[in-house]
């Protein structure tokens, strides 16, 4: 059954069965094929990435020399980092509230928390545009405070995703653990930190990944909440792609993908060693 197995496959090692491997492999091909095409065409000596016209690295030079692109990327990463952290906190609190307590208007509040996910982007974008104009939000602050309006908007549409994921995980929490901890004298905060948070950790990771991705990708809401000094990566990319500067964008994306892979590789390697040391 298992092609590469050196030891017999245990019943629960689903990831070692052949069909499972084929399935995951096919999904990975599906996910990565477009990216591979993109990477190949970033070396294409043509302004439009349609036909292969020879190898060049000039678009990498251009992308790296494009100050606005680099600045936009830095802005986007900053926003995504802050929005992810805040969404994790808010989203987890909301999930705990909904899971643990019975209170009046619960159905309505539950529905409201999920609302930012369903409001069409453009509608939320316009809402924030009018809102920030109405409260007179200053647009000439120094970096990074000029990103405040965008970050606030991002938190609003990111944290419900965290809530959903965390809540589905909380459903499996065994309350007796909490009771036991309390019987042993732990305070509410200690229980939260030492019992509840460890249990929901996978959901926190998943939620953080979702929030980070959503924030990094958002164009419409960002557009409507940005001021004159706050260009972000999607906004820059949109206008570049719309005007056929794609190879440069491809080059920048390729660099980003490689950078992400290297960073995560290093992080995982470093922690891998530590984790092994801890378990033994």
């Amino acid at each position: 059954m298992a092609l590469f197995a050196r030891t017999p496959v245990a019943p629960l090692e689903y990831s070692r069965t052949l069909w499972m491997r084929l399935w995951v492999g096919a999904v990975m091909v599906f996910l990565y094929a477009p990216l591979v095409v993109l990477m190949i065409f970033s070396f294409n000596d043509s302004k439009r990435n349609v036909v292969w016209r020879g190898f060049t690295t000039k678009y990498y030079e251009k992308a790296l020399g494009n100050d606005q692109l680099v600045e936009a990327l830095i802005n986007s990463l900053t926003i995504a980092a802050f929005a992810t952290l805040a969404s994790l906190v808010l989203g987890t609190l909301a999930a705990v509230m909904l899971w643990r307590f019975r209170f009046p208007w619960k159905g309505a509040i539950d529905g409201t928390i999920s609302l930012p996910i369903i409001v069409p982007e453009i509608c939320l974008g316009v809402a924030f545009l009018m809102f920030f104009a109405a409260v007179g939000w200053p647009t000439d602050l120094v970096w990074p405070f000029n990103l405040g309006a965008i970050t606030i908007a991002h938190i609003t549409f990111c944290f419900p995703f965290v809530t959903m994921v965390v809540r589905s995980r909380l459903a499996s929490f065994n309350r007796e653990q909490e009771e036991a901890a309390k019987d042993l004298g732990a305070s509410e905060a200690q229980v939260f930190r030492d019992v509840l948070v460890p249990h929901i950790k996978p959901a926190l990771v998943a939620g953080a990944l979702l929030a980070f991705t959503l924030s990094l990708d958002d164009f419409v809401i960002t557009y409507f909440t940005s001021g004159p000094d706050t260009i972000t990566f999607p906004v820059k990319v949109y206008s570049m792609v719309r005007f056929s500067v794609t190879p440069e964008v491809n080059a920048a994306s390729t660099l980003l993908i490689i950078l992400t892979v290297i960073l995560t590789f290093i992080a995982l390697k470093a922690q891998g060693v530590k984790a092994i040391a801890e378990t033994h």
Binding site: V70, D229, Y238, S239, F243, S244, T264, Q271, T279
Partner: protein, 368 residues
Amino acid sequence: MDFNELIKQTRGRRSLLQAMGVAAIGISFGGLAACSKGEGKKLANGEEAKLNFYNWDTYIGETTLDDFKEASGVNVKMDLFDSNDVLFAKFKAGNPGYDVIVPSNDFVERMAQAGMLQTLDHAAIPNMKNIDPTFIDVDYDQGRKFSMPYTWLALGIGYRKSKVKAKPDSWKALFDSPEYAGRIAWLSEAGDMFRLYGKYLGKSVNALTPADIATIEAMMIKQKPNVKNFHVDDGQDLLLKGDVDLVLEYNGDIAQAMTEDDDIDFVVPKEGSQLNSDNLCIPKGAPHPKNAHAFINYILDGEVDKKITETILYPTPNAAAKALMPDSYKNNPVIYPPADVLAKCEYAKFNPTLQPLFEEAFTRVRAA
């Protein structure tokens, strides 16, 4: 819950935080650099040395902004928008701090009507004399009270020469014939589509009535099965990739595509077409109006605009700049379509009562 599992689960999370930490270091360096530039200095005209320019991407010379900084000391910060609609929507809540914007002709009219634009001080823009006189008294801004022309464009048919039998010099090929079924792309812009259909029916783009809209809607629904795609102004890419063979596009976009592929050509149909023009304007509430005037004046300089035109390859309304351009540009029939065809082309006026009708009819066409 066992302990080993916990250890395992902490990993993904930590790595993410670490990655973020690295990102944050990069950010703080970039941020400090961004803060320190162009602060504090005041110019002779009493304004700080800053200008917020809101432009389309790739719509300026490669060194124009740096050259301007050298000439005047003003640091230009260029921000990007990708359609007139979002520009307008964003200014609805008030000017978020821009000094110079580049709307198209109908939006100049619309924004002027909505009171979003400042009247230009012509005394501060002496280079206005460089503008081709035919571009001064235009319908959308008589006497250039609010805007200075930056580029102009004509809609027409871009096509692949080897895939058509004859030059498709009538809108019929796109609008009313199954000849090129499945190889046609239209613009996704409702107003442009209806107005061009009007042209095909021999009407002025500004003389359509609700009855005409109903007629055109029926014609569109009839032609729709032959159309492959409504493109979002990336028709030249569709043409280059070979996804379609005939595409409704602007001449400037096709001129750029032609530099990459000899098999592509462009024609403005004999029924005439619609012209567009992008304009430099100063929105109300601009924080640096004097710098803005100086900047517009700088761009209208012959040499400066020549450099811009060399990069963006669009037709320029600047006579002084055009005179400086090489013949290969001046005599390019795609960039400058023949005069007899141009005579039949018109600028679309902004029409607040028809626009929603166009939109709704086009939604019906898409849903049909």
